[in-house]
Amino acid sequence: MSPDRSQRRKEFEQTALVHFDAMYGTACRLTRNPRDAEDLVQEAVLRAYRFWDSFQRDSNCKAWLLRIVTNTFINEYQRKKRSRQILDLATSEQAATDGVLIHADSQTNRGADKELARRAISDEVQQALDTLPDDFRHAVVLCDMQGLSYKEIAEIMECPVGTVMSRLFRGRKLLATALREFAVAEGYVREQPQAQARTASGDAPIDLNTYRAAQRREEKP
C-alpha cells in the first residue's frame, strides 16, 4: 500500500470506524435480521471508505456515516434483497473463507455476543419497530438510538426539521403503543386505556418552528 493510502486508511479507522457499533446497531434496526444487517453495514462501510475524501472534516462523522447507512438501506439494500437468491450462491464461498475468522471469533467470545445480537434483533422491540412506516422508524432509530439532532436527521432524510419532529413524535407514540400491545398480549402488563388515548396525535402541530413563529408574533406590538 502506498504511504498516502495507508495514511487514509488509518484516518478512516480512527475517525469513522469508532462508530462501527452505531452503524451496525442502526443497520440491525433498519433491516430485520442479523444477516441483512451485516450486509448493509459492510456495504455502508465500503461506501464510506470510498467517499472518505468527501467527508467534511469539521462535521459530525457519526451523522455522516448513519446517512450512508440509511441511504444504502433505502437505495441499495431493498434492490439487493430481490436478488438474494443469487447472492445465496456466493455465501457458500464466503463461508469457506470465513472459516479462519469464525474459529478466531469463537475462541475470543464464544459467539456470545452473536447470540445476544440475534436475540435482541428478533425480540419484540424489533417486531414493534416493524409495524412502523419506514420514515417513522428511521426518525426514531436515528434520534433515540443514535442521538442525532433534528437537523442532522432532517439532512439524512432530506426533509424539513418540522417533518422530522412529527415523524419522530408519531413514531414514538406508535412504537410505545405497539410495545404495550405486545406486553399486554404476553401478559406482562394490563391494558392502560388512558395511555392509549394519548397515542393519537393531538390537534396542535408538532413543530418547534411553528411554536417559535407564534412566539415572534406575540412579541410584536
Binding site: 434496526r29 455476543d113 452473536k114 411554536y211 412566539q215
Partner: protein
C-alpha cells in the same frame, strides 16, 4: 392557559431531545415550576422516551462482523493500489524508446566503465548492459523451479496484477545472475516491461545510488546510462537489481513497493 401550555407537546419533546434554545429552555423550566399539568406531561414523556431508548439499544457488533469489514477494506485498498499503479505506469512510461538506440547506448556504457569501479558497480553495470534481453530460457510456471536451480532458496518476487513472463541465466563479471522478466499491462492495453536480476551479493559489494526508505527496507536508486535501476539486498544476501527501459525510477519504485519482496515481513 399560557402559550407554553398550548405547545407543551412540542416543547416537552424538544426539551427531552435537547433541541431548545437556552432562553426557551429557561422559559419552559420556569413555567414548569408553576404548572402541575405540564410538569406531569413532561414527566410522563420523559419516562416513555427513556424506556424507548433503553429498549432500542442493540449489542455491539461481533468481532466477526468487524473482521469482515476490515477484510473488505483490505481488498478495496489492494484494488485501488493496483488501479493507481497502472495509471502511474501509463503516465510515467517513456514514449517508445527504440530498442536499437537503447542497445547502442548500453554498449557505449558497458565499455566506458572504469576498471577500478567497485565490484558491485561493475556487476551492476554488466547487468544493466545486458538489458533488455530478447530470448527467455524459461517461461510461465517453469520459472520458479528454474530459479531454484539457478540460485538455491530464492523465490521470484511477486507483484499484484503483474505477470512474470519468464527467466534467462546470465554470467556477469564471473557471477551467476538470474534475470526475471515482468510485464505490466495497463487498462489501455499498453504493455511495459521491467526485470529483476538476482544474484548472490559478495561482502565486498558496496551499495551505490540514492538510498530510499520503503517501509522497513532501504532501496538504492540510481540511473545508469539513462536507465532507472533499483538495488535491494534481502536479509539472506540475495541482491536484486531492478531495471526498466519502459518505466521511470519513481514508477519502478511504486511497483516494488507493491511486491511481496518488501511486504512479506509486514
Amino acid at each position: 392557559m399560557s402559550q407554553v401550555c398550548d405547545s407543551i407537546e412540542t416543547l416537552s419533546m424538544s426539551y427531552l431531545d435537547d433541541e431548545l434554545a437556552p432562553e426557551e429552555k429557561r422559559e419552559l423550566e420556569l413555567h414548569l415550576l408553576e404548572c402541575a399539568s405540564c410538569r406531569a406531561h413532561l414527566a410522563e414523556e420523559r419516562q416513555e422516551v427513556e424506556l424507548l431508548r433503553e429498549r432500542l439499544a442493540t449489542p455491539p457488533a461481533s468481532e466477526l462482523v468487524r473482521a469482515r469489514a476490515m477484510r473488505l477494506l483490505d481488498r478495496e485498498d489492494a484494488q485501488v493500489s493496483r488501479a493507481l499503479l497502472r495509471e502511474r505506469v501509463a503516465r510515467w512510461a517513456l514514449p517508445g524508446t527504440s530498442f536499437v538506440a537503447a542497445a547502442a547506448a548500453l554498449l557505449v556504457f558497458a565499455f566506458a566503465r572504469t576498471p577500478s569501479a567497485p565490484s558491485a558497480q561493475r556487476s551492476f553495470g554488466g547487468v544493466v548492459a545486458s538489458h533488455p534481453t530478447a530470448a527467455l530460457e524459461v517461461t510461465g510456471d517453469e520459472t520458479q523451479p528454474w530459479l531454484q536451480r539457478q540460485i538455491a532458496g530464492t523465490v521470484a518476487p511477486r507483484f499484484d496484477g503483474i505477470k512474470l513472463l519468464g527467466g534467462v541465466p546470465l554470467i556477469v563479471a564471473g557471477r551467476r545472475v538470474a534475470k526475471l522478466q515482468y510485464e505490466v499491462r495497463t487498462t489501455g492495453a499498453q504493455r511495459f516491461r521491467f526485470e529483476a536480476n538476482l544474484f548472490k551479493a559478495l561482502d565486498s559489494d558496496q551499495e551505490f545510488g540514492r538510498p530510499v526508505q520503503v517501509g522497513d527496507h532501504v532501496l538504492y536508486v540510481a540511473t545508469i546510462n539513462d536507465l532507472p535501476t533499483i538495488a535491494y539486498r534481502d536479509a539472506r544476501g540475495i541482491q536484486y537489481l531492478f531495471i526498466s527501459r519502459d518505466l521511470s525510477a519513481s514508477s519502478l519504485l511504486d511497483v516494488l513497493a507493491q511486491s511481496n519482496l518488501l511486504n512479506a515481513a509486514r
